[in-house]
């Protein structure tokens, strides 16, 4: 676990410098831990519901990754975002939850293995995006198409695809905020 945490700092540093592969590894490696936290706190939501909340947390981590202070430990930063978003997500679903931050240290990662559940909320939000943005998110996310190929398919430059993707993800966060409530 301690090695993981050091690795998180290195991966996130590389990610914030623009290394997409390091960033993917960072997200993949924090996801089981965050999933464990969400499940431990929100058993009543069911697996798919927990996965919705987890995805909300990941989106928040993504959009706020610039607020991590390079050199500071990743864990308190990550847990603070997680706590904030989990409390928010539960409130939005009409539950109250008390989440002392100290508890987080003790939550174990959910057992590894393939991502088990299909979450529903994110797909609904993607449907609400404008056609082109939705297509970009689907191509890159669901179909695993690279940014360059997505650009070719949509006759856009790579840079334009990246800008559009960034905007789309920001919009997704705003849509969630509005619609889950």
């Amino acid at each position: 676990m301690a090695e993981d945490v050091d690795a998180w700092g290195q991966l996130l540093t590389a990610a914030n410098a623009g290394d997409a592969r390091a960033y993917a590894r960072f997200l993949q490696s924090v996801t089981p831990v965050l999933r464990g936290i969400v499940r431990a706190k929100g058993g009543g939501l069911g697996e798919a519901g927990c996965e919705d909340v987890l995805q909300e947390v990941l989106l928040a981590v993504h959009l706020k990754r610039h607020t991590w202070d390079q050199g500071a430990p990743v864990r308190p930063w990550l847990y603070a975002i997680t706590r904030y978003k989990v409390v928010d997500a539960f409130r939005a679903r009409g539950r109250k939850i008390d989440l002392p931050i100290e508890d987080f240290a003790e939550v174990l990662a959910a057992e590894a293995g393939p991502d088990p559940t299909e979450a529903a909320d994110m797909a609904k939000m993607i449907d609400m995006l404008d056609g082109r943005s939705a297509e970009i998110v689907r191509k890159i996310g669901l179909e695993g198409v690279s940014v360059a190929e997505t650009g070719q398919a949509l006759t856009m430059s790579e840079g334009a695809v990246r800008v559009a993707l960034h905007r789309a993800l920001k919009t997704l966060a705003i849509l969630r905020e509005r619609h889950v409530k």
Partner: protein, 211 residues
């Protein structure tokens, strides 16, 4: 959508996020510069500014409000981070407040009884109470705008320090015009103006800094 798919989409977005510290500086410094120019053009700096700068009791106004502004803006940057809720310590602000109250008590004791009321009420109370909040609008807005781009997890506290910072700096700028050098005046009325701005900023922040 599966979480692995989401991660793929997130990882493809390599647009770097903003650096909050430089963003805040790039917004706050022009806002304060504009406030200083506005005071200079509309009200004028005090005629004896040079001499006042050598008078400790007069310089104390600028020092106290300036230190308040700096301390609170540093806290704002801390509170822009999600873990700021745990790491930001508000006691430096209390230290500034204690110093101001100490100065007030000292002035009360050293001012002759008959002159106290006049020193406290002064002649420019209304100008002070109107100008400091007006000067605070842009700096406080700059702070709020920057905080919104951060990840504030304590919106009430963030709004509070944003208000203190913006109005502290603005009071320091107003002091370049104001000739009321008695702590009985400035601790009272600058303090009230700062408190008013901070109250509004706290209420606004508690709502608008959620994300």
């Amino acid at each position: 959508m599966k979480t692995d798919d989401l991660i793929r989409a997130l990882a493809a977005d390599t647009q770097p996020g903003p650096d909050l510290r430089s963003l805040l500086l790039a917004r706050l410094l022009p806002a304060l510069g504009l406030a200083a120019v506005a005071v200079w053009l509309v009200l004028g700096f005090r005629a004896d500014l040079g001499a006042a700068m050598l008078t400790p009791v007069s310089v104390a106004r600028i020092l106290l409000t300036g230190v308040l502004g700096i301390a609170a803006s540093r806290l704002a940057l801390l509170l822009a981070r999600p873990e700021g809720r745990q790491t930001a310590r508000l006691w430096p602000l209390a230290a500034v407040a204690a110093a101001a109250l100490g100065l007030l008590a000292w002035a009360y004791l050293t001012t002759p009884e008959g002159a106290r009321q006049m020193a406290m009420v002064g002649k420019t109370m209304t100008t002070c109470l109107v100008t400091i909040p007006l000067l605070s609008i842009l700096p406080v807005a700059a702070l709020h705008y920057t905080l919104r781009q951060g990840a504030v997890t304590a919106p009430l506290r963030a709004g509070f320090v944003a208000g203190l910072s913006g109005s502290g700096f603005s009071a320091a700028i107003y002091a370049l015009h104001c000739t009321e050098d008695s702590p009985l005046f400035y601790v009272t009325w600058y303090g009230l103006a700062i408190a008013g701005v901070t109250l509004v900023s706290t209420i606004v922040g508690a709502r608008s800094l959620r994300w």
